[in-house]
């Protein structure tokens, strides 16, 4: 009976703490903006499988990697005059006008006369009601690619951040708790990882290993987890270690591991959560950079979309093909920024010196 009451009380206290922290978080405007952005992309990531399963989207048309739809366009064949200006065209730039096609372009299609209508496929096609963000140069739906990219970003970001923060929290606590040689070794290891230039290191790794999303997440997670965050978490754990409740736990006979995991770790957790949110930003950026340079073995991601639009030569075509250039770049920026803002909001919650009142 007594135990039940105690459990209820604990549950209530926990609920209370969550509610209080949520209220604090809600006060920071920027944190809320970040949260909305993250939720929006999470929605996009979950929407795509839903659309495929319910059959609203046909896999053959909307698949981000192998989908294809030929969008037909009918053009009027005209002959451009030799001298300008004429009645219809002011200068050479105006011919052929919209919906028209110069007959000289059709020298490979015999039998087409001036005044006929000629049917062509347009790729990349501009946005329409069927394809909200148009199609790319291979006739694939850009909106579906954005959704696939956000799945990749979430899987990679969250996986690598969880792994990294898990490693650094445990190592940091161990370093703070055991001290001596263990501490010295772990600190030198962090120094070493901090010294390694991260991008060139990833280039070299991608030179001898075919990196998929999973592998990249593990590499980024381990590198992030062994690096500088161990030092910060260690200093936090050192502060917790000298608190009176740790002493009383020791006096009542708690073993070292029990004190570490059930007393010190929960107190380091907020800082770890903060690290996690910030390292998601870094992981998303690293993935995009690597796929932008064509070093990853991934079917589709935001970085690959930009890589393709650059290698196909659309990035210098200006805003004529904006649906190939803007959505992917903005998506990377917005999601990374969203996670950053959430991190800032959490910082306001966990760091009492940052609060307004």
């Amino acid at each position: 009976m007594n135990e039940n009451i105690e459990q209820d009380l604990q549950k209530q206290l926990r609920k209370e703490a969550i509610r209080r922290n949520w209220n604090l978080f809600r006060q920071s405007k920027l944190g809320m903006i970040g949260l909305y952005i993250v939720i929006f992309f999470l929605f996009l990531a979950l929407l795509q499988p839903f659309l495929f399963i319910t059959g609203i989207w046909n896999k053959g048309v909307y698949d981000p990697v192998v989908g294809y739809e030929a969008i037909k366009d009918t053009l009027l064949v005209v002959e451009c005059p030799k001298e300008y200006p004429t009645e219809k065209y002011e200068s050479m730039k105006d011919c052929p006008g919209p919906g028209e096609l110069n007959v000289k372009r059709l020298y490979l299609a015999p039998g087409v006369e001036v005044g006929d209508y000629y049917e062509t496929f347009i790729q990349p096609a501009p946005p329409s009601s069927r394809h909200l963000l148009g199609t790319d140069s291979l006739g694939r739906d850009v909106f579906s690619q954005i959704m696939e990219g956000s799945q990749v970003a979430f899987v990679l970001g969250l996986l690598s951040a969880t792994l990294g923060v898990g490693i650094s929290t445990i190592l940091g606590t161990i370093a703070a708790f055991f001290g001596g040689r263990v501490d010295a070794y772990l600190m030198r290891q962090s120094d070493l990882i901090l010294m390694l230039p991260s991008l060139p290191l990833l280039f070299i790794i991608s030179a001898f290993a075919e990196l998929k999303v999973w592998h990249l997440a593990i590499v980024l997670g381990v590198l992030g987890g062994l690096g500088g965050s161990v030092i910060t978490i260690k200093s936090q754990a050192l502060q917790v270690k000298v608190k009176p409740f740790v002493d009383s736990a020791r006096i009542t006979g708690g073993s070292r591991w029990r004190i570490m995991f059930s007393h010190v770790l929960p107190n380091v957790a907020p800082l770890a959560l903060l690290f996690m949110v910030f390292s998601v930003t870094g992981a998303i950026a690293s993935e995009s950079v690597l796929s932008f340079l064509g070093l990853l073995n991934i079917d589709m991601s935001w970085g690959i979309m930009i890589y393709l639009s650059q290698t196909d030569g659309f990035i210098f075509s200006g805003l004529e093909f904006w649906w190939l250039i803007l959505p992917a770049g903005l998506a990377v920026t917005l999601l990374a920024g969203g996670f950053y803002l959430v991190g800032r909001g959490l910082d306001d919650v966990f760091n009492p010196r940052l609060r307004k009142r």
Partner: protein
């Protein structure tokens, strides 16, 4: 203090040896290189085959090769580049490094000042409408997908408006009848920049003690104008006059990369300053200063911003570590022939000696910067300084 520095240096030496071993093993794991491609050639005569094996120690076990590598590293002997054969990696690096350092030194100084200034104001105006918007813009430029942003800027300024060149270090057609090569001009530009920044820094130090904020600002501004006049005379007289058009060409190519990287880089400093400044503004001594009736601007600039500067300076020193790291993308996009491009190309082309030399060089660079950061931090932070004394 001295003890701390010695201890830290010893630790860093150990770490550096670990780094050498690790980087050798890493490069060793890359399958195939120009040697093995050469050795697979069936037309290779046996004595040449043996000579290649012997020269690079390829027939020895891993541990001996590793020893050889470490010994050669301290001799400064990295062999020869595979792709640009007669040159050694050291020559390539010494040719490329000044370009990277020049570009990023300017970027770092400019972005540090703008970032600190903006962050100071952001924290001061906490909660206002303009604070939210400026913070959002800073976060945007902090997290923007850098290659994409750089390409867009290149498109706008280089192609659409046509104001600035699209990448590259110089226009080759302007250099056909140049009496000297670009490195000589560039090194005189570097000397000029160093002298100018030293003068301005000295002016800052000299005016530090002046109490009145407005006269201090005026004096600093006057020194800036004096530098402008001085540099005008320098470039229009004597030896520098011949170099002027060529130097101008290089400087013209530097504008866009400097601008783009600064836009991306200032935000980190601004956001960090914002956080530390907010923490400082909660301190009691700010309240005391307010109660004493000191003007708002003075509290902001002399009481709060000075304390908030400490972690920002430390993180600034740490960003020096990432100069070469971050230069990879910038130089690839702007075709700026510096260290980053050398590193990326040598890795992609499997030019292993150059890649290893670059990688180890970046390691040495990071090591020194870390050591400097630690020492300056212990000097700036009185808690560490006093603890190590007592």
């Amino acid at each position: 203090m001295g003890e701390y520095i010695i201890k830290r240096t010893l630790q860093m030496t150990v770490v550096f040896f670990l780094f050498l071993v690790f980087s050798y093993l890493l490069f060793n794991a890359i399958p195939g290189n120009a040697f093995s491609n050469l050795l697979l050639n069936p037309d290779l005569p046996p004595d040449a085959y043996n000579r290649v094996l012997e020269l690079y120690g390829l027939d020895k076990p891993l541990f001996e090769r590793l020893q050889l590598y470490i010994v050669n590293f301290f001799k400064g002997d990295f062999g020869y580049s595979y792709k640009s054969f007669p040159k050694t990696p050291i020559e390539l690096i010494s040719e490329r490094l000044p370009r990277t350092l020049m570009l990023f030194a300017i970027v770092n100084i400019v972005s540090f000042y703008t970032g600190f200034f903006i962050g100071k104001i952001l924290a001061w105006r906490r909660g206002s409408q303009s604070e939210t918007w400026i913070t959002l813009t800073s976060v945007f430029s902090y997290t923007v997908f850098y290659p994409w942003f750089a390409l867009m800027m290149l498109w706008v300024f280089g192609y659409k408006l046509g104001w600035l060149p699209i990448g590259k270090f110089l226009y080759p057609e302007k250099w056909y009848d140049a009496p000297f090569d670009s490195d000589i001009v560039f090194s005189s530009m570097i000397k000029f920049t160093i002298v100018v920044s030293l003068i301005q820094f000295a002016a800052y130090l000299a005016t530090r003690g002046i109490e009145s904020l407005s006269s201090r600002r005026n004096l600093r501004f006057a020194s800036l104008i004096a530098i402008f006049i001085g540099s005008y005379f320098y470039w229009n007289n004597g030896a520098a006059l011949i170099k002027k058009p060529y130097a101008a060409d290089i400087a013209y190519h530097m504008i866009l990369p400097v601008m783009v990287v600064t836009i991306v880089a200032f935000a980190g400093t601004a956001l960090l300053t914002r956080t530390t400044m907010m923490e400082v503004l909660k301190e009691d001594y700010i309240l005391t200063a307010r109660a004493k009736g000191i003007s708002q601007k003075r509290i902001r600039d002399r009481h709060a911003a000075r304390t908030a500067l400490l972690p920002v300076v430390t993180s600034f020193i740490f960003t020096i570590v990432t100069i070469i790291d971050g230069s990879v993308l910038t130089e690839q996009i702007f075709s700026w022939p510096g260290m980053g491009q050398l590193l990326l190309q040598s890795v992609l082309e499997e030019d292993i000696p150059v890649a290893m030399a670059c990688f180890s060089f970046v390691g040495v660079f990071a090591l020194v910067a870390h050591l400097l950061a630690d020492i300056s931090y212990s000097y700036l932070d009185p808690r560490i300084r006093i603890k190590s004394q007592g």
